[in-house]
């Protein structure tokens, strides 16, 4: 990541957005994107991520703050002068034009010569393996093909930045995964800067260099995928990214790196101190299901509790087990389906435990 | 239940016998409804029924579709009308088709008080052997008294004089009347109009005269329009039915005046359908209702002139407004100095052709 902020390609500085003058959809957004970066905005619907995209594309004005593209403030630059490519969830291929004409459109409005135009269109179509489709109409293509055309069209005029607004949302699961890789590979090959919006966390984790998790108009955490999963900084991120178990309690003591949280049923849990308000204040503990050990060796982990298996769900490679522990009856544990796994039946009581480091003490949430 | 039926049956029979006892003959008379039927009821029906208690006259207001309904009745072989009020064109057509009875006017109708035969007394109004004239109305010229200065128009020439009377004129969108007026304004005497109009040169001459005011004309199609156009001040002069002008001037007190020169007489009268159910009674009624006094009486209720010359002297006062009606009669000798009778036969032959020419002329700008 660059040292100076001037070296970033895209900068959001103190950007705010309100549609009705009463509610801020985007609250004081600061975000920098490096050249060539694949950055994803991830969040539930209504979290403000698409609004940010539209402000960058120029279809929504920022209510406050400034957006820079290559160090040029672009608040007053109309969309067609921003040189930003865009892919829509609905593909937005022009139905009255052939695929070739669709791709040629951005080149035509740039008054590019015919021969150059044709070559670029051909290259772009070859890039998405649709070289022979130039004369077809969008309606004659499958959803996946249309999406590839949309991607090709957003790239054909060599924009600095490409914005993708839930581009795979309309595809079925298999196709979606395949397209994720394709987009990822195109990005790697071309080195183009991509700002990607999705509400699908696995998509975000698969494709991105960095992910910005949005909630309520605020970036909750901005980090590479592995950090986001391993080291969530607050309860929202922990819960939103991946499977997660939550335990609620009050901080009873804290040390330099750790703390002890007492749950309602009196269990005292040693945890990794990440984001707590102090002793006597509530906190949410986050433990990934795969970090929970069933029947730990004595002394293997500091936190060991009695748990009752309430439900077992067979998932092939592992058994997802719902347990009642520390007053929480919604605590999931992944038991690997290895030959020597403990034979567990519904209603059995077992000991489970986890490391102090894997149990992150975060800010309090209501649930 | 049984007694109820018996009771109601008895009542019905009783009612039927009572009504037959009171009026043995129920005569159906078809007319135009509204003020016109009212004037006929007051002037003819009521006095006649008083004299003949066994006759009951029933009004049917479907004269507007009179000819077509009569054809339908004849087709079905069941005539239910005794007397139908029609315009002369329809009278001629129905007579030709054999749907109306031809009559001998001198035998059937009453002579004038001085003994003049009906055929002389009605004169030109007897356009068809089936037609029994009743009233004369006229299409004439009304003007805005406040827009013609101190010299109101007095002659049909003034309608065509846009220098003396600048402003728009409203005329009926129809060749009938306009072509005649154009010729009269061009110097043709009233009695020669149809003879001149019968030639191609005459038609050309009429259109040429109309050309001189074409751009100043607003064309009307419905009888109520000219009165409205005058009232709105959209036009200075307008051709209109004299009854409409009467109501604009006398009843609505608009600043409108009226000019009788070259008024175009049109008629309205009776025909007897062939197969009328009460023929004898109808003859009796007609003799009464078309005598000199009765025709004069009708003018008390509506400003249309009696079709008999002998009635003119007997016209009295308006029954409600109390004004003297004679000056408002198209047939009043003072008003009827220069008049023109619409020639039914001429128009029966030439209507299509001249209407076509008229439309073509209108379309040319």
């Amino acid at each position: 990541m660059p040292e100076n902020k001037e070296d970033y390609l895209v900068r959001f500085e103190n950007v705010q957005k309100s549609y009705d003058g009463e509610i801020l959809v985007v609250k004081d957004l600061n975000l920098n994107m490096a050249k060539g970066e694949f950055l994803t905005m991830l969040g539930p619907s209504g979290s403000g991520k698409t609004t940010c995209l539209m402000m960058l594309a120029g279809f929504e004005p920022a209510t406050h703050g400034e957006i820079f593209l290559d160090n040029i403030p672009i608040n007053r630059v109309p969309p067609h002068k921003r040189g930003i490519g865009m892919v829509f969830q609905s593909y937005a291929l022009f139905p009255h034009m052939t695929i070739g004409e669709n791709l040629a459109f951005p080149l035509e409005v740039r008054k590019m010569g015919k021969s150059e135009r044709e070559e670029k269109v051909k290259n772009a179509l070859d890039m998405v393996q649709l070289g022979s489709f130039a004369d077809r109409r969008p309606a004659q293509l499958s959803g996946g093909q249309q999406q590839r055309v949309a991607v090709a069209r957003s790239l054909v005029f060599d924009p600095d930045v490409v914005l993708m607004d839930e581009p795979l949302g309309a595809l079925d699961k298999n196709l979606r995964e395949q397209m994720q890789y394709e987009i990822k590979h195109i990005h790697e090959r071309l080195g183009v800067t991509v700002l990607y919006v999705t509400h699908d966390q696995s998509e975000a984790l698969t494709m991105s260099d960095r992910v910005a998790v949005f909630d309520a108009g605020v970036i909750q955490q901005l980090a590479p995928p592995n950090i986001l999963y391993e080291e969530p900084e607050n309860a929202f991120v922990a819960d939103f990214i991946g499977d997660n178990n939550c335990l609620h309690g009050i901080v009873t003591s804290e040390t330099e790196n750790g703390c002890v949280v007492k749950t309602e049923d009196g269990s005292e849990i040693k945890a990794n101190k990440i984001n707590i308000a102090g002793v006597g204040k509530p906190s949410t503990l986050s433990i990934r299901p795969e970090r929970v050990i069933v029947n730990p060796e004595p002394g293997q982990v500091p936190n060991v509790f009695e748990a009752k298996a309430a439900e077992l769900i067979y998932l092939g490679d592992h058994i997802r087990t719902r347990m009642e522990v520390c007053g929480n009856d919604n605590f999931y544990v992944k038991i690997p389906n290895s030959s020597h796994h403990a034979d567990l039946n519904k209603g059995d009581t077992v000991k489970i435990g986890w490391n102090e480091y894997d149990c992150r003490a975060l800010d309090a949430t209501n649930n | 239940m049984k007694t109820f039926i018996q009771c109601s049956l008895a009542t019905a029979i009783l009612a039927a016998s009572v009504s037959t006892a009171q009026a043995e003959t129920e005569m159906v008379v078809v007319s135009w409804g509204g003020a016109y039927t009212k004037s006929q009821t007051k002037a003819y029906h009521e006095p006649y029924m008083k004299m003949n208690p066994d006759v009951k006259i029933v009004n049917d207001d479907s004269a507007a579709e009179g000819a077509s309904k009569l054809r339908a009745q004849a087709e079905a072989g069941k005539i239910s009308w005794d007397l139908v009020d029609v315009v002369p064109d329809d009278a001629v057509a129905l007579c030709d088709e054999g749907l109306a009875i031809e009559i001998d006017h001198d035998k059937l109708l009453a002579p004038a008080p001085d003994g003049t035969l009906p055929s002389v007394d009605f004169g030109d109004a007897l356009v068809s052997p089936c037609f029994i004239p009743q009233i004369v109305y006229s299409t004439t010229i009304g003007f805005r008294t406040d827009k013609v200065g101190s010299t109101p128009p007095t002659s049909i020439n003034d309608v065509f004089d846009t220098k003396k009377y600048p402003g728009k004129r409203a005329l009926q969108k129809n060749p009938v009347g306009n072509l005649e007026w154009a010729l009269m304004a061009d110097g043709v005497a009233g009695k020669d109009v149809y003879e001149v109009l019968g030639t191609d040169e005459g038609v050309k001459r009429a259109f040429k005269k109309l050309d001189t005011i074409k751009k100043d004309v607003v064309w009307w199609t419905k009888g109520a329009q000219p009165g409205q156009l005058l009232a709105d001040g959209e036009v200075v002069m307008a051709s209109a039915y004299n009854g409409r002008l009467f109501s604009a001037i006398v009843e609505n007190k608009q600043p409108v005046g009226m000019m009788w020169d070259a008024q175009l007489f049109e008629l309205d009268g009776w025909i007897i359908p062939k197969g009328a159910p009460h023929l004898e009674e109808v003859y009796k009624y007609l003799k009464f209702a078309t005598d000199t006094q009765r025709l004069a009486d009708q003018a008390k209720y509506i400003s249309y002139g009696p079709a008999r010359k002998s009635s003119a002297a007997l016209v009295g006062k308006h029954a409600e407004l109390g004004i003297d009606m004679a000056p408002h009669m198209p047939t009043n000798p003072v008003n009827a100095k220069n008049t023109l009778f619409k020639d039914i036969n001429f128009w029966a032959d030439r209507k299509e052709e001249l209407a076509e020419k008229f439309e073509a002329w209108l379309a040319k700008s």
């Binding site: 109309p78 865009m86 951005p106 005029f157 | 299509e352 001249l354 379309a363």
Partner: protein, 423 residues
Amino acid sequence: MSQSDTSTLKTADGISLKLSLQRSLRRKKRNALLLVAPLFLFILITFIIPIAYMLVRSVDNQIFAEILPTTAPLLAKWDPLSGNTPDEEVFKAFITDGKVAAQAKTINRLGKRLNYEKSGISSLFRKTGRNLRKLEPEKLTTSYKEALIKIDKKWGQVDTWEILHRESGKYTKSYFLSAVDMKYDANGMQWKDDDSRIYLNLFKRTLWLSFLITFLTVLLGYPIAYLLATLKTSTSNLLIILVLLPFWTSLLVRTSSWIALLQKEGVINDFLFAIGLITDEGRLAMIHNQTGTVIAMTHILLPFMILPLFSVMKTINPSYVRAARSMGATSFTAFRRVYFPNTIAGIGAGGILVFILSIGYYITPALVGGTQGTLISNFIAYHISGSLNWGLAAALGTILLLLVVALYILYDKIVGIDNMKLG
């Protein structure tokens, strides 16, 4: 079909599979037919039969042979170019037929029919009919020809017989010729005199005004439809009610308000005069002329343009324009190249609706059109209810129908009917 080369598949109970399939399909078809039967009957009775009747009526001339049955075939043999009146046998047949018809009072109907061909025949027939009724052919002392000429000397003229000869067939083209301002005599077809031509100009005017009205409805309706399509649904529903308002006001109320607004002493002229834009003499003529027709019909027909446009625009994804803009198109280019082409289907549908409706409109032009703003339909109405020349009305209607069909085919060739979206 031979059994040997096709192995027949059978259903479980041994009936041929094909037969069984046919049976089940037949039942389906029969049910479908039963469902559409009432509507089909309704359309047949109220639409197809009247139109067929109209087509027949425009060429029908059975009346001649009905009223003069023995004259018609004899007259057909006569050559009008010979310069002589027909033979004695034609006169005899005419007197015989004519006496029967005069007694049955049908002869004047033929007179009225032939009067369309030449003015004056109506009265000639009426006069002849009156005389024939009294005439006793057995007691004639002269030839039939002289007897007829004695009734009216026109019977001695070749011209009179030429018209009878021409219109003695079962079918006539005279209505269609009249409808395109032509006439027909022994020398063939030719244009009518300049001072009798109406209909070609009227057809031209009707087409031109309909085009103009269609164009104006697009011009006025397009922005409104765009606004409606981009607003919130609740707001746009409210506005659509306003768009439909013209349908809810009665024709008379509407016409009176137009007159009040547009006439010389009307609101608009008064206003323009008051602000000094026009002088008292320069008041604009906006009603009882073509302007009146165009204003009133554009107003009435606007919803027929707005609604199809609206429903088409509603389906256009807003991201099309955004995509175009993001690719470097100015808002005008994005509109011209992307948005507008996608609304052509709506313009086509609305255009066809408005055009066809305006081509057949007659009440409004009659009320506000004056002499220059009336359309061909006004004349069809006039001939149906005024002059009672139904043959000519039918011929005019048929030509109008053919015009509409021709334009429809043209539209299909240029734009494509499949592209039309009514909603």
